[in-house]
Symmetry: C2
Subunit: 160 residues, 2 copies
């Protein structure tokens, strides 16, 4: 069970956009080159972020994407779910009802079996961490840990 690469791309692109001036649109082409990932495929992830309302895109020259909300209003979970979908990590197939000893009246689907319940708890614990962590936290971490000079030349590279 491993997240697709698009999740990593989306998280980095969101962080990048969150660092830049809100009034500037950044084209997918630039985001792709900056992060060293295929432009066409990254474009799908950006579209997913746009349709989730996390970025907004605009057409034409000077077009591209910008952050649609403040970074402290965007959780990592929103980003992950925008790209990866909202399905739970455990897909209960209710195989307990395949028990050949059960009659129809016992196959009541109103309760969750304890195995699924435990797996859903684990899923929820994962989501809670991602829901709690905001994009602004990541931006802050980057600002604190990456040398100022590198941030500046990177921003200039993207905006030029």
């Amino acid at each position: 069970m491993i997240l697709g690469n698009q999740v990593e791309w989306a998280l980095h692109c969101m962080t990048t956009l969150a660092r830049l001036p809100r009034d500037r649109y950044i084209p997918t082409k630039v985001l792709a080159e900056f992060h060293g990932v295929p432009k066409e495929y990254l474009s799908k992830a950006m579209q997913a972020l746009a349709s989730a309302g996390l970025v907004d895109g605009t057409l034409g020259p000077k077009g591209g994407y910008r952050i649609a909300k403040e970074a402290n209003k965007i959780s990592l979970l929103e980003i992950v779910e925008a790209v990866e979908g909202k399905k739970k990590t455990f897909n209960c197939q209710e195989i307990r009802f395949n028990n050949p000893c059960l009659k129809k009246e016992h196959k009541k689907k109103d309760s969750v079996c304890s195995i699924a319940s435990a797996m859903f708890q684990a899923d929820e614990a994962w989501r809670l961490v991602l829901r709690t962590r905001k994009l602004s936290d990541i931006v802050q971490d980057v600002t604190d840990s990456v040398p100022e000079e590198i941030l500046k030349i990177s921003d200039d590279w993207i905006l030029s």
Copy 2:
């Protein structure tokens, strides 16, 4: 990012084996029919559980699998990892180092970027729930929630 069905099968089979007398071996064929899953494929999951030391298998008539440890010594995480592997749910590709502004000396791989760090925290939260929950807890839940009569006829079906 969704777990494979084998995880659900393995959890149910482990629960089943944990409920039965320790001195009896249950063949894959019986486990497969009881849970309504394909025998040959379930066999792969059972082999994974065996090689992780969670069950032990024996050959020949009266052969099959039995629990290898006490149920309170087996966590759900062990079962999940036996079948699904131990890789983390987030596979960091370090795309931050693809930044065209970076020179070689800046590409020090000794630190974890804050995005990966957050994703690993979420992964760890997921694992913690599964590590804490023991197979014996599941067995207890089943005993408490499934009517005694159904448990009895199911056990008889499996052991006969």
